[in-house]
Symmetry: C2
């Protein structure tokens, strides 16, 4: 057999082998039968290439090609030829060549696809998710998660720039981080435990250890509602830093977000280029004034921006400041978790912020209460038991510097970078009220 | 105030400021009162430096220093002086200088420590864990997690080398990965779900999407036993690769392990240098023969190595092959999960492997069953329902290449790199039968 002597060449590299025999391995994306010739689009992890199967070149390859269907796994040996000028495909890095098949070996067969995967993928969300291990192979769907991988990479690069230490935090916890309901209960041996609402308390405890930390961690919210922007299991990208002021924190969060996005853009051409401008910073009340003035809705006494407010303030930021990002600060202290620092100048409002991106909150954070006694009071004021926070409070009892941090939501960022309308499409295997892979019937 | 004009200098950098005034921020590690002079060891995220407080230089700084206790958070302005020759500390990067304090500001106080943190930390494991947010500040404990962060970094670098795509997998799942009990049950809205035993099934589904993937994911095991090497929540470092043979997989796993360890050693001086030698590869039965021959224990019919076997075979590998690592292959098919490929030459044994490091298994993996029908049969043979694996099986129905992969246990690696005897010390916040931060009473 010829194949045994050939080493596999990645598809992206085949263009560099014109005139030579190569061996490729991958999946049949499309098979076009032109009668005298069969054309195959073959994909591997590096890219896509066209294979021509000509019975005059190899009768056996032609015979094998007749049985091929989309998603068959194949090994193809063939000669790399330059394409005639009129047939060059400029959209493909391998578009100037094609491979003339000498032999085709089927490594695995595939059943007939339940829907057409050759062009755009026209399926409804439930179908998309019901067939997740298949639909993820579609180039448009695959791309979402290639971008997501670059977001993670960009975040880690930024963390390195800021001299942060990576930490691994637990997800099984004894009590609520934020207080409130929305906790998933775990049967933990003979005890009851919960899934963590956020890595918040753990990253704070690490400030006196490493001063600056980051973590990529899971967060769980048992929100009994179905929206296009909530998941029951999400991925959070977290920073926490000691010896920072609120102003420094705002600078850092915007620097990290920008660095992360620029990293993605350095590798991918996103559907819409990101406008960085100078990121406007507004207090909640100022943002609500803008909403009132420019969009005619009077939400000036609300505790938070409404979803429509978020969309509109982003519209405003883009028009007025050429920025896809906007930082909103000073949310009411009562609307925030106990660990958020009230503004010393006006304790009704807190040193908190959200970062909005293209109409949705992708990050929240702020300055923390770092004084032990103030923290104990804040926990009690919210009707929670300090006994549930013993280990956390210990960190503050033994010397906690002024500190703060923030947390990005990975799936929301992915969604907004790619103009996806439902967050479920931005999670490989989304968890919500209605499904854990399979739909609850 | 002088301080307001000075920008913070990281402690590690102070040595470059001899003769100049600097501002440092950090924690008091030790305070030594010599009557006429007070010496402070101050630490920040970059290092440790000695501060001298002389009442003749600053009466107010001297007064402030008298009240300082370990773990107080301080801001100190002072002049960097070269130390007299006899007092140079060669163990410290800042050992040739000291800072003469002009002013000391206390940013946060600390209560009196419940045990001595100034020298080696002599506390029992329960005390170490009961005071976790405090004990982690001890340099010896902190170092464990600095090494752990480098293991993660080294793993990611290797993943990049092997052209793998990062994926994010869910932890809430509908059914068992491995079959068997040992699952934590989650109350999931009105349904029952579980915590994932491993990212196994998800990473396999991603092979037809990205061909080569990696993930750092949580794995949960409700093992109702207390040992020094099991945790209820662990961190797994996973690879899964398409188009690989069992031999290629063994090469890759050993390359990844070696690259990861060498990365750590490039940054840290470990207590004991790792011996790489040429990693010996033995079938389980061969390893058991060695145990019988060299150590006199006849376990030649056992399904796995016993803990003592693992210790002894590592001893043997180190002596005979100058290797701290040893790869054991061909475990009995029946003792392995359904997704592990039986050896086509002898289906009683499987194309599986464990990597042992200094007496403990730190990785397991192998070639997978990639044929749909064979996989369905393997699930049924183990008494499980194929209906519980619909989405997983779908990946195989639609073209799965030959594939395989492996999974490292982060905490076990950390433990063995540092010669730690109990895995709980290698997790920031370990989860076991007896505690979730607080001890169950």
């Amino acid at each position: 057999m010829k194949n045994e002597k050939l080493k596999r060449v990645m598809i992206l590299e085949t263009a560099g082998h014109v005139g030579k025999e190569v061996l490729i391995k991958g999946w049949v994306r499309i098979r076009r039968d032109h009668g005298k010739l069969i054309f195959l689009d073959i994909r591997d992890r590096s890219g896509l290439v066209q294979v021509v199967v000509n019975p005059k070149v190899s009768e056996s390859a032609y015979k094998a090609a007749q049985d091929l269907k989309p998603e068959f796994v194949v090994e193809i040996a063939g000669r790399v030829n330059s394409r005639p000028k009129g047939t060059i495909n400029k959209d493909l890095p391998t578009g100037e060549i094609e491979i003339e098949a000498n032999s085709i070996t089927v490594l695995a067969k595939a059943e007939i696809l339940p829907f057409d995967m050759s062009g755009d993928l026209h399926v409804e969300l439930p179908t998309l998710l019901d067939h997740r291990s298949l639909t993820l192979r579609h180039p448009k769907v695959e791309e979402i998660f290639k971008v997501q991988a670059r977001v993670l990479e960009g975040f880690r690069k930024a963390a390195e720039e800021f001299d942060c230490t990576e930490i691994v935090v637990p997800t099984i916890v004894a009590s609520a981080t934020e207080g409130g309901a929305e906790l998933f209960e775990v049967k933990y041996y003979d005890h009851k435990a919960f899934l963590s609402q956020s890595p918040q308390l753990y990253k704070q405890m690490m400030v006196p250890v490493f001063e600056r930390v980051w973590t990529i961690a899971k967060a769980y919210r048992a929100e009994p509602s179905v929206t296009t922007r909530h998941l029951s299991e999400t991925t959070q990208l977290d920073f926490e830093l000691g010896f920072v002021s609120f102003e420094e924190l705002m600078d850092i969060l915007e620097d990290v977000a920008t660095a992360m996005f620029k990293h993605v853009e350095s590798v991918y051409t996103l559907p819409e280029k990101i406008k960085y401008g100078k990121i406007p910073r507004l207090r909640l009340r100022e943002a609500q004034e803008v909403i009132y003035r420019e969009f005619g809705r009077d939400n000036r006494n609300e505790k938070d921006l409404t979803p429509q407010d978020e969309i509109d303030i982003c519209k405003w930021a883009k028009e007025k400041h050429k920025s896809d990002l906007v930082t909103i600060t000073h949310f009411p202290t009562k609307a925030k978790p106990f660990y958020i620092m009230p503004d010393p100048k006006d304790s009704e409002y807190s040193l908190s912020y959200d970062l909005l991106f293209r109409g949705v909150e992708i990050l929240s954070g702020g300055q923390r209460v770092s004084d032990y006694n103030q923290l104990v009071k804040a926990i009690k004021d919210r009707g929670m038991k300090t006994g549930d926070f013993d280990m956390y409070l210990m960190a503050f009892k033994y010397g906690m510097p002024p500190e703060g941090g923030f947390s990005f939501g990975l799936e929301r960022i992915t969604m907004k970078l790619l103009g996806i309308s439902n967050i479920r499409e931005a999670s490989l295997f989304p968890r919500d009220m209605e499904r854990v892979d399979e739909r609850f019937s």
